[in-house]
Symmetry: C2
Subunit: 240 residues, 2 copies
Amino acid sequence: MTYCVGLLLNEGMVLLSDTRTNAGLDNIATYRKMFHFEDPGERIITIVTAGSLSVTQTTIARLREAVEDKDATPDTSVILAPTMLKVAEIVGNALATVRREIDEKLSMAQGASATMIVAGQRKGGAMRMFLIYPEGNFIEATEDTPFLQIGEHKYGKPILDRVVKPTTSLSDAQKAVLLSMDSTLRSNLSVGMPLDLCVIQADECKIGTLRRIEAGDESFRNMSDAWSHALREGFSQITI
Amino acid sequence: MTYCVGLLLNEGMVLLSDTRTNAGLDNIATYRKMFHFEDPGERIITIVTAGSLSVTQTTIARLREAVEDKDATPDTSVILAPTMLKVAEIVGNALATVRREIDEKLSMAQGASATMIVAGQRKGGAMRMFLIYPEGNFIEATEDTPFLQIGEHKYGKPILDRVVKPTTSLSDAQKAVLLSMDSTLRSNLSVGMPLDLCVIQADECKIGTLRRIEAGDESFRNMSDAWSHALREGFSQITI
């Protein structure tokens, strides 16, 4: 399993992914699930992935190939695509194609699947964030729903529901996604450290902060402890 | 869907269930999911249910029939059963039988299923709480894991993880299950008010408190608001 979350805020975008993949509980590995396509100052696209590693790796590899292809066109390269909507379409089509190809090799029962969050901005355009479904269709984050989640999303949703708004600061947004991840890590063994955290400031069209948070990271543990403490304090003060 | 939770604590047991059932989003109804078998002072058994209404209703009806049968034996009646373990077996067998019967009437694709939490105490015995699976097997709450959940359990788990211990007071326990339910209500439309809350004090072998919390209940709303406020306060004080 996986947990990835992306926030689309007035000040910028924040994405967080875990790195655990597993084929059975006895076969666990660490793989990066966050990928960047960047032309600094001109365009930044960040993709986080959940689902079959064979599907997500192949999809990202094809997107990368298409960008590096000397015959790349605005219809095939996410770096040349005229709009973020077109980027979402390119990613969606690549994902759907790869999934179909791999599905054909597998029996129906094993069907491979994947979902992705695509976040980005091109110079002159707005920041946009999409959730791409296995079939290649997608939905977009909006003012009303400024966050998207893929993978094991339920444990970490209550905190996002309560604190994330478009006006949330990037600093609070980082706290929110890390606490959302913390709740998920506690409850699902198949979501695991290290974590990849990415912050993209509005209109900079480049990666702002990129941070890998290793297992045992002191600031993450302190934050987690402080949150547990705050929850228990708040809990003790409520009367029924 | 459904959300039910039961806590097994030193001071007693607390159970909470929602009441929403649905066959599609356009066919919603309210059904009680909490049932009691009581011989006050001698024995209390409370069952909360999740899953196909046809399965859970028939199972409870058969358990009730078996209790009222004038030929009831300790092998068939949960009121006569010598131990709580035997009660769990009777409920498990009834559930598995009903599920099999209904499954045979349905195609495989529609397969009906259900799970139950059975909590109780007989005079002279210990309080015990079991989660009964659709196949009739079961697990038991312990010191290490003093709560059991059925139905839509993920949204409401982080709060339980953080505040529930065997030493938790019955008053805090009621808060904990209500806040756990509140997080679930916010995230899953198929879990809905009113709620049924039951408190059983240790060694009393009878229902202590039984409370139905209707939609719009002021104390529940105040508690929910206070918790949102406490979460935001705690959140704002954490630094990363």
